[in-house]
Amino acid sequence: MDGQGLAAAASHKPTETREAVVIRFAGDSGDGIQLTGAQFTAASAAVGNDTATFPDFPAEIRAPAGTLAGVSGYQLHFSSRDILTPGDRADVLVVMNPAALAAHRRWLQRNGVLIANRDAFTSKNLAMAGYAADPLSDGTLDEYQLFCVDLSRLTGDALQDLGLSSKEVERCKNYFALGLVFWLFERKPDLVLREIDQKFASKPILREANLRVFRAGWDYGENTELFRIRYRVPAASDIAPGRYRSISGNEATALGLVAASQKAGLALFYGSYPITPASDILHYLAGYKEFGVRTFQAEDEIAAVCAAIGASFGNQLGVTATSGPGIALKSEAIGLAVMTELPLVIVDVQRGGPSTGLPTKTEQADLLQALYGRNGECPVAVLAIQSPADAFACAYEACRIAVQYRVPVLLLSDGSIANGAEPWRIPDAAALPAIDPALLDSAEALNGEPLQPYARDPETLARPWIKLGVAGLEHRIGGIEKWDKTGHISYDAANHHAMVKLRQAKVDAIAKTLPPSAVTGPDSGDLLVVTWGSPWGSALTAVLELQAEGKSVAHLQLRWLSPLPADVGDILGRYKRVLVPEINNGQLVKVLRAAYAMDCQGYQRIAGQPLTVGELKAAIVEHLPA
C-alpha cells in the first residue's frame, strides 16, 4: 500500500480551516490509545502544528476490558499558533467503548465531535460502564455532533481473508480510528505507514493487516456520507525557526542529564528504583550506554540515592529520580549529601498524594517536601520544570549547578510533564553551555599545604571535588558535622552555627547567577499571577487572554524555588494583588508569604489534573481588585 497515494488523493469533500483543535482519544487500556495518540501527535507536529499532549493513564495495568477502571485517555492540542497547554476541553472525542464515553464525556465541548465505536456498545459493556440505556440512541448525547462508526465490524471486514484470530483483529481497530482521524484532519500518513512497516517488519501478515485497516479508516471518512467536511489546521507560523522534534518530559529529562554529563566530561551514574511516573527516565537512560551512562536499578529508593552519592564521591555525575514516596524515603540520605557537599541531582516526578495516593495522576504537592523534608537545617537547591520540552534545559541546569556548587539539586517534574509531549526546538549539541567540574586532581595543586577538603571557593562557596585514586589526596568525609576547611569531625558550638549558615549561603549564592526574572505583561499593575511547574502553560495562556481583554494582569513563572531569585520580592511588591495557582493545597504561596511577608493569595484545585485556562481566568478575575 502506498501512503503517498493516500495523501495525494485529493478529497472530494470540503475543508474548513481551524486555528487549533483539541482531540481526545479514550478507550480500554488494551486498545492502544496511547500509541494512537502519539502517532497522531507526531503527524501533527510533522506538518508544522504546535502540539501539546496530556496522556491520562488508568492506575491499573489492564483492568478487565470494558470497566471504568480500565479506561485510558490521551488528549492532544494541535494548533497553527504557539500553544502552551494540552487544552482545557476537547473539540473531538473518540471513544472505543461505553466506559470510555462515561469516563471522558465531561471533557468534550458542547457541540463537539463525538466519534463512537458502536460495536462496543453492547448491553454487557453498557452495564459495566453504568449505563441503563444506550446513550448512542437515547438522545443523551444530543449536545454533541455524534458519529457512530461500526469500528470493530469494519476492521473485521477489511481483514476477512487474512486468517487472523478475532483477538488479533480486535487489536487492529485502533488503526481504523487513526486512519479516520488522519483523513478528517488531513494528516500525512507517511509517518504511520513507516512505523507500521518497522514495527511489523518480521510479521508480514500483521503489517499488511494494520496497513489495510488504516486505509479502511481513511477511506471510510472519504467515502461514506457520515462526514461531510474535513478540517485543516495550518502549520504554525509564530514558532521560532529551528529543528524540532516531539518530546515527552521524561525523555527530555533523560536527554538533559546525558547532555550535561557529556559536556562535563563525567560519566552519568543513574541510581533509581522504578516508580510511576518516573520509571521511563530509567528506561531511556538504560538505552544510552554508548554515552557511558551507568544505570543501577537499586533494591529501593534509599539504595538508589546512596549509590548515586557513592558514585559522586567517586567523581561521576550522581543522579537519582523517583516520585514523592521515593523522595520521602531518600530524605535521610539527601541530608548526607548536603553534609558531605557532594554534587547530586534528585529528580522528583510528582504524582497525587499523600501516601500511595493517585499514582498515575499529576500533582505538585511535593514542593515543601523538597524544600524542608529533611532533618536539621538541610538546604538544597530546588528548581521546577514548566513543560515537557523545558525538562531538557532544567535537567541540564540542575546538573550544572550540582557540579559547580557541590550541592544536591532537587529537580521537580510532575506526571503531566513526564508523560505529556510537545515540540522541542533541538539545541545545537556543540553550543550547549560548558560545565567545568574543576576536580582537584593532583596533590601538586596543594603547594605543600595539607589538603583541606572543606576549603571554599570564594564565589560559589563550593568545597573542592577531590579526585579519588590520586596519591596525596586521601581524605575522609561523613555525616557528622565538619570543621570548615579541614573537614574533620567537629562538635564545636560556634563552628556548627557557622556551618549551618554556610550551607544555606552556598545555596543562596546560586541566586547571584540567575538572570533577572521575566514578567509577561505590565511591569506593575493590578494583579500578578505567580506559578511554578506545570501550571505555567495554563496560567500564561489565561493571563495573555485577559491582557487581550484589557485587564492589568501579568505572569511570573518561577523556575528556581531555592534560592528564590533576588528580584522576586521587588516584582511582587509592584502589583496590588498576587495570585498563586497551584495543584496542591497552597505551597508556593506559603513560601512567598514567608519570604516577603506579603498577603499573596492562592488558587488550588487538587484533582490529579492540570489546571485549565478557563478556571484560571475565572480565578484571576475574581481576585482582581475592585
Binding site: 510533522a46 514558532i239 568525609i477
Partner: protein
C-alpha cells in the same frame, strides 16, 4: 582493571592523624591493626583504596585509615560502596560495619550486595550489641539477653550472619575473632585477593556493653577446643592437640576423637572452600558450640563475575559498537525543520 604491582608499605602508612575514639580495651583496636597490617602486606597504596562505613562504633573505621574514606549513615554503606565501586572499579573498597548497621537497619542492602557480588570487602564487627547507642540488643544477640531495651530479656531469635550471607548467594565467607591476629591475617589476605563481595564476620568484644560475649571461643584456654580453623584442602582437625576431627555423616557434622572408634584423619571432612555448591558452606556457617567447634578462617571462596565488572563491561561493549553522537541522540528519529 589489572592490579598494579605491589609496593612496599608499612602498617603505619595506613594510620591517620585522627585520635582513635574507641573505648580503651575495645576489640576494634585489634581489628584496625590487623587490617592495617594486611593492607601493608598486600602492597596496594592507600590512595588506591577506599574505606566506607555506616554508623556505629565500628563504623568509625574510615577515620583511622589513611585511604579515601566515607563514614556515611546508618545501614547504607553497602549501597554507597556499590555506587562508588561501579564508578571507580580501580579502587579497592573495604567496608566496615556492625551487627546492627548491617543486619538490622542495613539488612536489605547487605543481602543485595552479596547477591550482586559487588567487589567489596565487608568487615562485619559482630559484638552482639549496639555499642554506639549504649547497649541495646542487636539482631545477633542471644535469645533472652537482658539489655537496656530488654530488661526482662529479649524474645528475638538471632540471625547467624554467615548463614544469612550464604542464603543471600555469598561467594566468600570468612570469620575470625578480634584477638586472633593470625587467623585475622589469613582471612583478610584471602578477602583482599577475592574479586567479588568478600564477607568477613569478626567476633568483636565490646568491653563496655557486652564484655566477654565471645569469651567462650576467644580466651586462649578454650580457643583451640571451641573453634576450628578451616583450611582449604585440609581435613578438619581441632583441639589443643589437634586430636579431634569433624566428619560429615550425610548432611550432619559429627565430632570425633582421632584414633577412637576406628576413626582417623582419613575420616575427617576435607574442607573445600571452592565447592560451587553452597550447602556445605551453609552447614559450616551455622555450626557452633557447645556441640561443635565454631569454624574460623575462610568458609567459602567461590568466584563468580563481580557486578561492577559486568555493568562496566556492558557499557564498554555497547560503547565499542555504537558511536556516542550527542546531536543524533537529541535529534531523535523524526526531527523536522521550522522556518
Amino acid at each position: 582493571m589489572t592490579a598494579p604491582a605491589p609496593v612496599a608499605l608499612k602498617p603505619k602508612d595506613f594510620q591517620t592523624d585522627q585520635d582513635v575514639r574507641w573505648c580503651p580495651g575495645c576489640g576494634d583496636y585489634a581489628i584496625l591493626a590487623a587490617v592495617q597490617r594486611a593492607l601493608a602486606k598486600q602492597g596496594v597504596p592507600g590512595h588506591l583504596i577506599a574505606t566506607v562505613a555506616g554508623i556505629g562504633c565500628s563504623s568509625r573505621f574510615p577515620y583511622y585509615m589513611n585511604t579515601f574514606g566515607f563514614h556515611s549513615i546508618h545501614g547504607r554503606a553497602p549501597a554507597i560502596a556499590t555506587g562508588l565501586k561501579i564508578a571507580r572499579p580501580d579502587l579497592q573498597i573495604w567496608m566496615a560495619t556492625g551487627d546492627g548497621d548491617s543486619l538490622s537497619i542495613g539488612g536489605n542492602h547487605f543481602i543485595h550486595l552479596l547477591r550482586r557480588n559487588v567487589d567489596i570487602k565487608v568487615l562485619l564487627f559482630n559484638n552482639r550489641i549496639y555499642g554506639l547507642t549504649k547497649g541495646q540488643y542487636s539482631p545477633t544477640s542471644e535469645f533472652g539477653k537482658k539489655t537496656k531495651s530488654t530488661p526482662y530479656g529479649s524474645v528475638d531469635h538471632p540471625f547467624k550472619p554467615a548463614a544469612v550471607a550464604v542464603g543471600a548467594e555469598a561467594g566468600f565467607v570468612g570469620r575470625f575473632i578480634d584477638v586472633d591476629a593470625k587467623v585475622g591475617a589469613e582471612v583478610l589476605a584471602a578477602a583482599a585477593a577475592y574479586k567479588g563481595t568478600a564477607f568477613i564476620e569478626i567476633y568483636q568484644n565490646c568491653n563496655i556493653f557486652n564484655d566477654g560475649a565471645w569469651d567462650h571461643l576467644a580466651v586462649k584456654e578454650v580457643r583451640a577446643e571451641q573453634t576450628i580453623l578451616l583450611e582449604h584442602g585440609q581435613p578438619m582437625l581441632f583441639g589443643a592437640n589437634r586430636d579431634k576431627g569433624v566428619r560429615l555423616v550425610g548432611t550432619r557434622p559429627q565430632v570425633f576423637q582421632l584414633g577412637h572408634d576406628g576413626l582417623g584423619i582419613g575420616d575427617a571432612w576435607v574442607h573445600d572452600a571452592h565447592d560451587a555448591d553452597p550447602v556445605r558452606a551453609f552447614l559450616l556457617a551455622r555450626m557452633e558450640g557447645p556441640e561443635f567447634p565454631t569454624p574460623m578462617g575462610v568458609l567459602r571462596s567461590v568466584q563468580r563475575p563481580a557486578y561492577d565488572e559486568l555493568i562496566n563491561a556492558q557499557v564498554a561493549e555497547v560503547a565499542a559498537r555504537k558511536p556516542a553522537d550527542l546531536q543524533k541522540l537529541l535529534d531523535g528519529p523524526h526531527p523536522w525543520l521550522v522556518g
